[in-house]
Subunit: 222 residues, 2 copies
DNA sequence: AAGTGGTCTAGACCACAGC
DNA sequence: CTGTGGTCTAGACCACTTA
């Protein structure tokens, strides 16, 4: 349980700039090197990561500066956190199926391979925020967790994802979901189609998230 | 004209793995160090960047592997490339205005400050792909380019952005844009609202992009 | 001339996998 | 035990800006 020095320095810098105005310089790399008694490469690594986060920005030959907090880079795209267990949700439906050409194609499996389907309503302060249709490749789920749907979700949350691919599709809310989402018929909504890939390039899950535009907006800062 | 060594190594690695199957290992860092006659830190920097791009992935204590090309991380979110001059487009409208509360609020300027408004239709193979309403803070545009709208766009393309904030809004296509976008009345579409920030946290431009769902889908791989 | 960030080197030690 | 990626050091030179 040894935290790398560069991570400690990241936290120290965060502390230092917490009350510092945007666009004011932080100490130079050579000053921080002495202050934290670390090598310059280690200090740079800490700064590099904070720059990537959008917390700091560099100007060549001049210095490193505190960024405006509204520039912090975050991706609050809905389905990325689909397996987030912190949220309130209600399971609407759950089964194991096969022989569905469309789903098999999305999951890149044969039509004869099984998949798990979970329909889940996500709540925020009791209000329906989105409805997920989750399809998971049966073969990629450990047998030991198949007995319980909560175990499957917990298992899924731990999957090391290689990347997530999302397509945003505009549509009129499907009639069968309008009531559940507490949205009027004919409301335009966004459906996020996500493919969760493992590191070796196989698809673990395919998710369709129907978002209630009143409760959930997709926002990205890059 | 001196390209850093780590960038050269990135290209060399790209070449090496071009015909290599996904999930097969590349040479170890110490082997690459000798092969390219560079220090390990330099080799690591090259690999680090390729991992960030999603071209490679590491497994601790084991090795570094070629990623599936579908895992390459890209953000093809429309308005990010709004000032991309490579695309075909047609200027629909252009003026300089002020006294618009709503726009002033988005641009975080006083209602008395001027802004430039450009309405632009983006084409792909002659088909309308999206319609942008671009609002730029007048004060942030160099006087020397104000004489020509193309100069303004070129100037904008060169702005060093700190970050881009995007909100995705589902809606029915505005009637006034339906014809231009070659989309039927009542079609559900996505409008991307983008704020282009400079490094010092000021807003340079605000863009509303109305996307033709037939011609343009928003896709992100993270 | 002094100071900055950007790049680079040639070592080093660590924890962990697999044999 | 060997090899891997992860971390770290104490220097160095460069191009550039500002004074």
């Amino acid at each position: 349980m040894t935290i790398p020095i560069y991570q400690k320095i990241m936290e120290l810098i965060r502390d230092e700039i917490r009350n510092q105005a945007p666009n004011t310089p932080i100490l130079s790399e050579r000053e921080l090197e002495k202050k934290y008694n670390a090598s310059r490469m280690t200090v740079r690594k800490a700064i590099d990561l904070l720059v990537e986060e959008g917390v700091l920005y560099r100007v060549q030959n001049i210095g490193t500066f505190v960024a405006d907090s509204k520039l912090h880079k975050k991706t609050d795209s809905h389905a990325l956190n689909s397996f987030d267990l912190e949220c309130d949700y209600k399971i609407i439906y759950f089964d194991v199926k096969d022989e569905n050409r469309e789903v098999a194609q999305k999951l890149e499996i044969s039509t004869h391979d099984q998949f798990v389907r979970i329909v889940r309503l996500n709540l925020q302060n009791g209000q329906p925020e989105s409805l997920d249709q989750i399809y998971i490749v049966r073969l990629m789920i450990d047998d030991s967790v198949m007995n319980n749907i909560l175990n499957i979700l917990e298992f899924s949350a731990k999957i090391e994802t290689g990347s997530v691919n999302q397509v945003f599709v505009p549509m009129i809310v499907p009639v069968k979901f309008a009531n559940l989402l507490n949205v009027k018929i004919n409301t335009p909504i966004i459906c996020v189609q996500s493919k969760i890939n493992t590191k070796n390039g196989r698809i673990y899950a395919y998710i369709e998230s129907y978002l209630n535009p009143e409760a959930k907006s997709i926002e990205i800062t890059i």
